[in-house]
Every structure is written in structure tokens, then in C-alpha cells.
């Protein structure tokens, strides 16, 4: 178990610890206070109660006083308890297709990780392309980006991390001092982050957003459709990110020939490609192709789960491995978020909140899009990206319906930026992993991350304004 030391002065820590019980009392009081207020005109009683639940969940998701997944469970309990929706419906939403798609994707990624296929792939690419400092940096940046198209960016960062650490060791780069060392870890993190927004597989938040879209509006976004809309933005961000890397971090060494030797050595240690790996690779490839071309017809979750069954039939993965690699907390969190989003929409609470807040002063679609993507990209630096989606989506979808914006556009403008954490370690594991290398201080990533964040936001707006309409998405 890794540890971190809280560097705040003791009195601040003490105060923050004593907050906890006080905070729960305050949340409960505020919750009861909201419930006891007279229901405003234009809002149903269910809507009123849904807003009270939403308030509690947002507060707990933002503060993470209890795990995000447990907050979701609380939502599931409170919704039927307060008569917003009956229990049967609330629990049924928990079994949403998006949740099962995420489960399937996790199990597929687990098989890749466990077999070592993904690591082998990484070693092959890095040793092939990493001949000079620049090409090595490019490979460390682009390869995780590409891999994050197909598996969780978190898993990619976790598998890349030991390889990049080994590279820094072989090159004798000094933590906190070597610019090239810093560049490698930032490249790894940014690669994972930017690549992770390209498909449904890079971050489970994307299917979560689509799941909320489906439950609220009945519309969905296909695997290929998502890629078609997002990949051009990803490519522009990747190019810009690379320019930022070489601008901010000097390439302060001339030769990286030792790296190839070390990576080849690791490849030899892994031995020959096994049949197991080949089969897993094949299943993965077929799954991706089916998602792309038959996703709409067959259902993404169905395809994912069918592939999982195939993995078990061929004995390529054991249940023990699934338990080890699958983050069950995510499944619970997503189920709860979808249920709450649905409750907010159906009770009219989302529309009422939208009317009372953003709609009061932002009536143009472009402004709404710019605002929501900005909220998303800022919030995600400080909190979990799934929580950002759970908080913003219900209100955003309601506004989209009122302003006639295609709700799919709103899904993109919230889900894509929610994955783009370029500065701080709290927002995404890829950043946290890069920081854990010991090469980076927060200030190293602050300015480049800020510029990268602003650029990504602008890129997304421009792509939204000029490219998405070509795909038939109405703004």
C-alpha cells in the first residue's frame, strides 16, 4: 500500500478531520431544510425531493467524504424512499446497458493486462521507434494514446509506468532535475488522457454519459459514431500536446541507445508470444470490429459480454483475474449516477434547475456549449470525471432539449472535457501515476497543463462548431 504524507500544518489537518462529523450533520440538516421548504411554483413535489437528493449527492461526490460508489448507493436508497420513483424502477436502472458494457470492457482489459499482451505490445513499439530522444519521447506519448483508444487509460498508464521508470533508470535521469525525465512522464500521462477520450473504451465515463443520454432522451451514440465525432479533435490535441512537450521540457540528452538494449532484454524475459496471448488479441480485435460495425444493431453491452463469455469458454481468463482487475466501485457509482439522472429528468427537476440557473442568462446554444465544456474541464481537474458527468449531464440535457441543441452534442461537450485532466493528480489516475514517479512537482505541470487545457477546450468548441454539423449534429 503506497502512502502519502499530508504536508499541511497539523492544525489545518486537525481542523479538516474534525470537519467530517460536523459536515455530515450539516449535510443532513441542509437536506432536511431543502425538503421542508415550500415547493416552488413550476416544480413538482417529486422534482423538489429529487433536487434535495441531487444536492446531497453532489456535495458528497465533490467532497469525497465517502467513496463515490457509496454516494451512488445512497441515491438509489433515497429515490424510492422519498417517493420520487418506485424501488423497482430505481433498481432496474442500475442494470443499465452502459453499466454492463463497462463491466464487459473491464473484463476484456483484464485479460489483456493479465496475459501480458499489452506490455509486450508496448515494449515492441518503444524498442522499434525509440532510437533517438525525440522519437522515444514521441513513442512514449503516442503509443499510450493509441492504446487508450482500446483499453482504459488508467490501465494503460499502469502498464506504461514501469516501462518508463525503467527507461529513466537506464538513462540515469535524475528525479526532479532531468527535463527529459519530466517530459517522458508528462508525455505518458497526456497520451493516455487525450487517447482516453477517443472511444468508449478509454474511460468508462464515456459510456456513462451515453447511458445517461439513453435513459433521459431515448437516443444513443454508437461506437463508431463517437469515434467519428471525437477522433479529429483528439488528433489536433495530440499534435498540440506534442508541441507543448518539446516547448516546455528541454530534450537535455543526445543519446538513448541504452534504452533499446534494456527493452529488448525485457522482451526476451517475457519469452515467446504464447497461444493464449494470440487468442486474446484475436478476441479483442474481433470485439472492436463488431463494436464499430455492428454496435448499433447488436448492442455494445451484448457484444462486450459475448466476448467475455468467449474468453471464459476458451479458458483465457479466470474469475480470480476478473476480481483482481475489475473496479466494482465504478459499476456501483455509474448505476447510481444513471438512476439519479433519470429521476432528475423525469421529475422535471433538471428542467427547473436549468431554467432557474444557466437558462436565465445563457440563451444562445454556442454559449451554452462553451459554458458546459468549460465547467466540465475545470471541475474535472479537482474531482473525479464520473462525478463531473453525473452532476452536469442531467441539467445539460434538459437545456439541450429546451434550446433545440442535439442532446448528443451536449453529451460530447461534457464527456470529452471531463476526461481531459492535464494539471492535477486528483482528477485522473494517469496524472496521479505520472506524479508518483517522483520526477514531477505540481508546478512542472501547472503552466503546460493549463495551456493544454485551454487549447483542448478551444479545439473542442471549434470542432463542435465547424465539424459536428457536417455529421448531422445540430447545434
Amino acid at each position: 500500500m503506497a502512502v502519502a504524507i499530508d504536508k499541511r500544518p497539523l492544525w489545518v489537518i486537525l481542523l479538516s478531520k474534525s470537519y467530517r462529523p460536523l459536515f455530515f450533520v450539516l449535510i443532513t440538516l441542509a437536506f432536511l431544510g431543502i425538503l421542508s421548504l415550500p415547493t416552488p411554483a413550476g416544480l413538482s413535489q417529486e422534482g423538489h425531493r429529487a433536487i434535495a437528493v441531487f444536492f446531497v449527492c453532489v456535495t458528497l461526490w465533490v467532497t469525497t467524504l465517502i467513496p463515490l460508489s457509496i454516494t451512488s448507493l445512497l441515491a438509489i436508497i433515497l429515490i424510492p424512499f422519498l417517493g420520487i420513483m418506485d424501488s423497482k424502477k430505481a433498481y432496474a436502472l442500475f442494470g443499465n446497458e452502459a453499466v454492463f458494457f463497462i463491466l464487459g470492457a473491464f473484463i476484456l482489459a483484464a485479460s489483456l493486462m493479465k496475459s501480458g499482451l499489452s506490455t509486450r505490445f508496448a515494449l515492441a513499439v518503444l524498442s522499434r521507434f525509440g532510437k533517438t530522444p525525440k522519437t522515444l519521447l514521441t513513442a512514449v506519448y503516442l503509443f499510450p494514446a493509441f492504446l487508450s483508444f482500446w483499453m482504459s487509460e488508467h490501465a494503460v498508464a499502469a502498464l506504461m509506468f514501469p516501462i518508463v521508470v525503467e527507461i529513466t533508470k537506464v538513462l540515469e535521469l535524475r528525479p526532479l532535475r532531468s527535463d527529459y525525465g519530466k517530459a517522458l512522464f508528462v508525455a505518458m500521462a497526456w497520451g493516455c488522457i487525450v487517447g482516453g477520450v477517443a472511444t468508449f473504451l478509454g474511460g468508462a465515463r464515456n459510456p456513462l454519459a451515453v447511458g445517461m443520454l439513453l435513459e433521459t432522451t431515448g437516443q444513443s451514440i454508437g461506437f463508431f459514431e463517437w469515434m467519428l465525432a471525437v477522433v479529429p479533435a483528439v488528433i489536433i490535441m495530440l499534435v498540440f500536446g506534442y508541441l507543448m512537450l518539446i516547448w516546455f521540457f528541454k530534450i537535455d540528452l543526445k543519446n538513448v541507445s541504452q534504452v533499446e538494449e534494456a527493452l529488448v532484454h525485457r522482451k526476451i524475459e517475457m519469452g515467446k508470444v504464447t497461444w493464449e496471448e494470440r487468442l486474446i488479441g484475436l478476441v479483442m480485435l474481433l470485439t472492436i470490429l463488431t463494436w464499430m460495425f455492428f454496435g448499433k444493431k447488436l448492442g455494445l453491452a451484448n457484444i462486450a459480454l459475448a466476448s467475455v463469455v468467449v474468453l471464459f469458454v476458451l479458458d483465457l481468463i479466470k474469475w480470480k483475474d476478473v476480481e483482481e482487475y475489475v473496479n466494482w466501485g465504478i459499476i456501483l457509482m455509474y448505476g447510481g449516477a444513471i438512476t439519479l439522472g433519470y429521476a432528475l429528468d423525469k421529475s422535471g427537476a433538471a428542467a427547473w434547475t436549468a431554467n432557474m440557473t444557466i437558462m436565465k442568462w445563457a440563451s444562445s446554444p454556442i454559449l451554452v456549449i462553451a459554458l458546459f465544456s468549460l465547467f466540465s474541464i475545470i471541475l474535472t481537474e479537482f474531482m473525479s470525471n464520473a462525478a463531473v458527468i453525473a452532476i452536469l449531464m442531467p441539467v445539460a440535457l434538459s437545456i439541450a432539449q429546451q434550446l433545440g441543441i442535439d442532446p448528443k452534442v451536449m453529451t460530447f461537450v461534457i464527456a470529452v472535457p471531463s476526461g481531459l485532466v492535464f494539471m492535477l493528480p486528483m482528477g485522473t489516475p494517469a496524472c496521479a501515476i505520472a506524479y508518483s514517479s517522483g520526477f514531477l512537482k505540481i508546478k512542472d505541470m501547472l503552466v503546460p497543463g493549463l495551456i493544454m487545457g485551454i487549447t483542448a477546450w478551444l479545439v473542442l468548441i471549434l470542432v463542435g462548431l465547424f465539424y459536428w454539423p457536417m455529421l448531422g449534429l445540430k447545434i
Binding site: 503506497a2 502512502v3 502519502a4 504524507i5 467513496p67 532535475r177 465504478i330 473525479s384 486528483m426 489516475p429
Partner: protein, 407 residues
């Protein structure tokens, strides 16, 4: 002889001769069973409750002008006909016992001041490649003969013996350089965990800076209350020359970086680093004191001793008169930088920063009152409890929050 600080300085650098009665009698016999080297001498209590560990076995002690003698049941230090009455801490009785695995306790741990020092892993990887520090005699004295590492059980046994006998209050674990993860700190973890689990004590570790700061976090989290990364020599050229292993495998900059980082993790006054007096010009030791204290690191100033078994045996011991101002400077620098000087209690192997006051003429009434408070039983209890509470508040398990961030 009148100034206990000065006398401590003299005795720790020149050692002391024993009168015939003491050499042949039973009083101090057990002391000769302990490992030679740093802390392997006799603990003497000078006036003003100043403790000193005076070397008695090394060759250079034969030249010492000081003589320890017993007269009418009282101990005295004599020099040129002048006498001062002192107390002598009898060597621990457990020195004569063995662990359950048959290792003589005296080879496993040394008691000096209130500290029990243990070297559970008896090696330093600099020796086989001839990269050892030139002043060091560890190779010839370190650890139990014929054993690479002690078992956790043996370590717990020795701490238990020392505490039962009431001869030590704190534990210090000392580690040579080890290749591999954390440069040895990882291998110490089971010992540290076991000691903390079984005894209510403060624990100090002398080790080498790990490659990554995360290991420093981990060191604190595992229960270490005070950490020392000994730079030993401040002057870069001297450092490279005298400590080739440290230079090659760790680097002087890493020592300084790690110390600075550790000072942001550990409580004030508990991060220390030796600067050996007498192996570099006094100006560079002074510079070292200033540099370290600015980073809130406490410099400790052991005086160079030409230890038997070290490459520098036979080298000249620095003159006490020359080096005395350094200790005054140490006291002032620690005070100006507001570093807590109260952690050390009955330290006998080096002059503590607060003892530096003896060289300044400053009575330091407030500091001494506070120090005495810390030294009292109730002060000791409070210190231990505060240390525990601090750790509980400061240490976070990142896997938990990491999972959360994935969500």
C-alpha cells in the same frame, strides 16, 4: 574541566584512560563486550547532566590526558591533578546474554545515552567494491559475526532486554548502504514494524537517501520518528574523495534534496545529518551547518576519530580549542532557524545543538527549561503520544484515494 560542554568535547574526541582498578575490576567489564566504534565506549554523566560516550578501547585513547578512576565508591575524571566527580552508567547486563538464536546481545546492540542502537543488517555494499567511506570502521565491527541479517525476533528480544533493564528509552536502527529498493529502507520495514508494534518508544533510523521521495514518505509512515541521512562531509571535493561510494551511487545533491524533503515530512528537529568535524576545513563545516539549518535539518557534529579498522586510523584528531566555535555556531544556527532542539535526550555520542550553548556563554534559560520538560517522564510520554497522533493525522494511504480518483 569546569565547562561540561567543553569536557564532553574533549572526552568524545580523545577518549579516556581507565585506572588500573577499573580496567581489572568488574564495574566496567561488560563494556568491553560491546562492539567497538561509534558508541562503543563508556557512558559518563558529567556535571549539569551532560552525558558523554568516551571511547576507551581505541588505540588513540592511550594518549588521552583524561583518566577515569574510582575513589571511595565515587567516580572521578582526573587531568593534571584536577578532578571532577562524575557518574558512570554501568554497561548493560544484557551484554553478557545471547538471543534465542544464539547471537551474543553485545554484538547486536549498543547502548549509549538513552539509546539502544541496533544494526540488524550487518553489511554495507560499499565495502566489497572498496568504495567505503575512508573514516569508517563498520566493516570490522558491524553486526553479529557470521550473520548477514538478524531475524525480526532477535531484534525484538534485544529491545525487550534493554527496556526491561531500564537502560534505554529509545531505539536507533543503523544501516549501511544497500543496493536495491529504497537503498535498504525496504529491508528495515519488518524490524521497524515489529518494534513499533511491541514497544511504546520513539525510533530513529540512520540510513541513506532512497532514490525516490516516496520512500521517505513510507519511512515516516512505517513508524520512524527521526531520520538521519549522513552527508558526513560538506565540501563537494572532499566528499567525493572521502566517500567514493556515496558519491557514485547516491550523489551529494541527492543527500541534500532528500534531507530537504524529509524535513518537510518529519517533525521539526528530527531530521539530522552528520558533518564530521576534522575531515574538512572548519569554514566548510560552518557552511554545511548554515545550509542544513536553513533547510530545517539538524546538523550533528561528531568529531573525527581515527577508528581502528578504518582507512583513516592514525590520522590526526582535530584540536578541541580550534573546533569549539563550531558548536557555538551550531547552537545559534539551530536557534535562529527555529528548529526544535528538544528531541535529543541524554545523547552521549555527539554534542547536541542545545549543548552548543556551553560554547556561547548564553544561559539559554528558556531553552533549557523546555528541554528539561521534554526530558521529564511526563514530557517523554507527551512526546510519544504527540508523535503517534501526528503520524495518524499525516499519513494517508494513497491506494484508497487513487481508487476514488478512478471513479
Amino acid at each position: 574541566m569546569k565547562n561540561p560542554g567543553f569536557l564532553k568535547l574533549e572526552l568524545s574526541s580523545k577518549g579516556i584512560r581507565l585506572s588500573k582498578e577499573l580496567t581489572e575490576g568488574k564495574d566496567l567489564r561488560a563494556a568491553f563486550l560491546a562492539r567497538a566504534g561509534i558508541g562503543g565506549g563508556i557512558d559518563i554523566i558529567l556535571p549539569d547532566d551532560v552525558w558523554v560516550n568516551a571511547p576507551v578501547r581505541e588505540t588513540f585513547t592511550k594518549e588521552s590526558p583524561y583518566l577515569l578512576l574510582k575513589d571511595n565508591g565515587n567516580f572521578y575524571i582526573e587531568k593534571g591533578g584536577e578532578r571532577v566527580e562524575v557518574g558512570v552508567i554501568p554497561p548493560p547486563a544484557f551484554y553478557e546474554k545471547k538471543t534465542s538464536e544464539g547471537t551474543p546481545f553485545a554484538q547486536v546492540g549498543t547502548v549509549h545515552g538513552g539509546y539502544l542502537t541496533i544494526s540488524p543488517i550487518a553489511s554495507c555494499d560499499f565495502f566489497p567494491s572498496y568504495e567505503n567511506c575512508k573514516f569508517c570502521s563498520a566493516n570490522s565491527v558491524m553486526g553479529p559475526v557470521g550473520k548477514k541479517a538478524l531475524s525480526v525476533r532477535e531484534v525484538v528480544e534485544i529491545v525487550n532486554e534493554a527496556f526491561e533493564e531500564g537502560i534505554a528509552e529509545f531505539v536507533q536502527i543503523s544501516l549501511g548502504y544497500l543496493d536495491g529498493e529504497g537503498h535498504g529502507i525496504a529491508s528495515l520495514e519488518p524490524y521497524i514494524t515489529a518494534i513499533k508494534k511491541n514497544f511504546d518508544t520513539l525510533l530513529a533510523v540512520e540510513a541513506h537517501p532512497p532514490d525516490k521521495d516516496a520512500w521517505i514518505d513510507r519511512t515516516y509512515a512505517m513508524g520512524v520518528d527521526s531520520i538521519a541521512y549522513h552527508l558526513d562531509i560538506y565540501n563537494p571535493e572532499r566528499f567525493a574523495n572521502i566517500c567514493p561510494g556515496k558519491t557514485r551511487h547516491i550523489g551529494r545533491d541527492r543527500y541534500l534534496d532528500a534531507l530537504q524533503y524529509a524535513a518537510s515530512i518529519f517533525p521539526s528537529g528530527t531530521v539530522t545529518s552528520n558533518l564530521i568535524v576534522g575531515l574538512e576545513p572548519l569554514e566548510s563545516t560552518t557552511e554545511g551547518i548554515d545550509h542544513l539549518t536553513k533547510m530545517e535539518v539538524v546538523p550533528l557534529l561528531p568529531i573525527f576519530k581515527p577508528l581502528d579498522g578504518s582507512e583513516y586510523r592514525g590520522h590526526k584528531i582535530p584540536d578541541t580549542e580550534d573546533i569549539a566555535p563550531l558548536f557555538a555556531h551550531l547552537y545559534n544556527a539551530v536557534k535562529v532557524n527555529k528548529i526544535n532542539m528538544n528531541w535529543s535526550k541524554h545523547v552521549s555520542i555527539f554534542i547536541t545543538p542545545i549543548e552548543g550553548r556551553y560554547f556561547t556563554g548564553d544561559q539559554a534559560k528558556l531553552e533549557v527549561t523546555l528541554y528539561n520538560l521534554y526530558k521529564s517522564k511526563i514530557g517523554g510520554l507527551a512526546t510519544r503520544e504527540i508523535a503517534k497522533l501526528r503520524r495518524k493525522l499525516k499519513v494517508r494511504e494513497v491506494e484508497g484515494s487513487f481508487d476514488a480518483s478512478e471513479l
